[in-house]
Amino acid sequence: MYEAATPYISKEHREFLKKVKRKNVLIRVTQFALLILFFATWEIVARYKIVDPFLVSQPSRMLKTMMTLSQNGSLFMHIWVTLSETIIGFTLGTIIGMIIAILLWWSDFLSKVAEPYLVVLNSLPKIALGPIFIVWMGNGEAPIITMALAISLIVTIISLQTGFKEVDEEKIKLLKTFGATKMQILTKCILPASVPTIISAIKINIGLSWVGVITGEFLVSKAGLGYLIVYGGQIFKLDLVMTSVMILSILSALMYIFIVYLEKKLIRWR
């Protein structure tokens, strides 16, 4: 039987809660300390030339690089280029993947026909398609976004399709006893039941879109973080490379956190 939590908290329980809280604080502090330690060690070994700062760069020089880049505005331009390409690629991959997965769920015939093609496309290393995209679409943003799309699309289709198939057959039978149409089965049961699958597909998709965009920018680009990394590497400016990598990791982490937040909002019933 469901009961509301009692307002009274025993001494023992209070002790327990305190202990849990203390442990959580300790975890956070340690995580933070590790980060500080990492950068401090890096700074020190570079400053005292224990390792060559030319090869590993140095946090203080990375900060300086960031300053100069942001002062002439180009930092935000590069971030914006990469971020927008990623968001577009990711959104397209998710939406198109979802539509195709729904079509494959809808028609068993279509799904059987598509199966071998999906298997082949899934195992193909999509980076191999890069030069083709460039020849077809030139050297703008289009081939880069297509690259992100190519990498994430098939995985999305396959994981959503599997998720749709795993929805309890009996739930569908229940809807059929009410006389539900196929469209109603889709909207009332398959899609809402697959929200956790969809979210985990989105999480994977974000990571893959970053891979696609950075790979695309490595191959062909005039701007973006991938461009900065390649450019910095070519002229041996490791400061630039390291700074870009650092910004990239922060951005992708932020995007991930946003999705986790979305997940919490969407799956209240858990």
Binding site: Y2, K171, K173, L174, A180, V195, W269, R270
Partner: protein, 248 residues
């Protein structure tokens, strides 16, 4: 004689798969009268669920005819409440599907929830409810469509024994109170005897009717729990047990 609600005549059903043809039902005939509770009992895998699917119209018989006079409500083995909907939204599911969601029908469902003790739990999600309450919510979801005939497919088997006794007692009272006709599939001989007016015993697959028992119990308190004390209870039990001929 009461009105006939369900009439089965020489119903046979075969499943077709690539592995071959499975005969599930063979020449099944019986009638269900208005207000009657008919139990269906038989060895596992003999075709009981198939029979209910045929009565409900989800499957068409390979041979024979089915006649149903009235609206059917189907209760499956598990409650199958949708985890992402709260109890209120779950209770309205059938009405939503049939596009008959009106102020009046909502009021009716609201009344059912209150009457059967779920009024305060409208906004709870299924995983916050006990097994018995979930089963009750599933029953209300079915009753919301005002069916005349209820098909219960081992509707209580997912519950623990005590909850199961209590809930079957409760469901019995609810269905009698709402004056429904019921076809109850169960594995549990005692449950069948205690709830039903007649029991159809099916054979091994392909299922055919082995015997039909008229259950007459002498007890003042004709509820599933009350009538378990009736002197005839044991006799019916032993007789049906023999008829089922279970070998382990």
């Amino acid at each position: 004689m009461n009105k006939i609600m369900v009439s089965l005549k020489d119903v046979s059903f075969n499943y077709h798969t690539l592995e071959g043809e499975t005969e599930a039902l063979k020449n099944i005939s019986f009638d269900v009268y208005e207000g009657e509770f008919v139990g269906i009992i038989g060895p596992s895998g003999c075709g009981k669920s198939t029979l209910l699917s045929i009565i409900s119209g989800l499957l068409k018989p390979s041979y024979g005819s089915v006649e149903v006079n009235g609206k059917i409500g189907y209760m499956l083995q598990k409650d199958h409440l949708f985890e992402w909907r709260n109890i209120w939204q779950n209770a309205l599911l059938g009405l939503e599907i049939q596009k008959s969601l009106t102020e009046e029908s909502k009021k009716y469902v609201e009344g059912l929830l209150v009457k059967y003790g779920l009024g305060e739990f409208k906004n709870h999600y299924p995983n916050q409810l006990s097994g018995g309450m979930r089963q009750r919510a599933a029953l209300i979801r079915t009753l919301a469509l005002k069916p005349d005939i209820l098909l219960l497919d081992e509707a209580f088997s997912a519950l623990d024994y005590q909850t199961r006794l209590a809930i079957s007692d409760e469901v019995y009272k609810i269905l009698k109170y709402e004056q429904k006709t019921a076809v109850i599939v169960t594995h549990d001989i005692s449950e069948a005897i205690s709830m039903c007016d007649r029991i159809v015993v099916l054979s091994n697959r392909p299922a055919h009717v082995k015997k039909i028992y008229d259950i007459v119990l002498t007890c003042e308190d004709r509820t599933p729990i009350g009538c378990r004390k009736a002197p005839e209870f044991r006799e019916y039990f032993n007789s049906i047990w023999k008829e089922l001929d279970v070998h382990v």
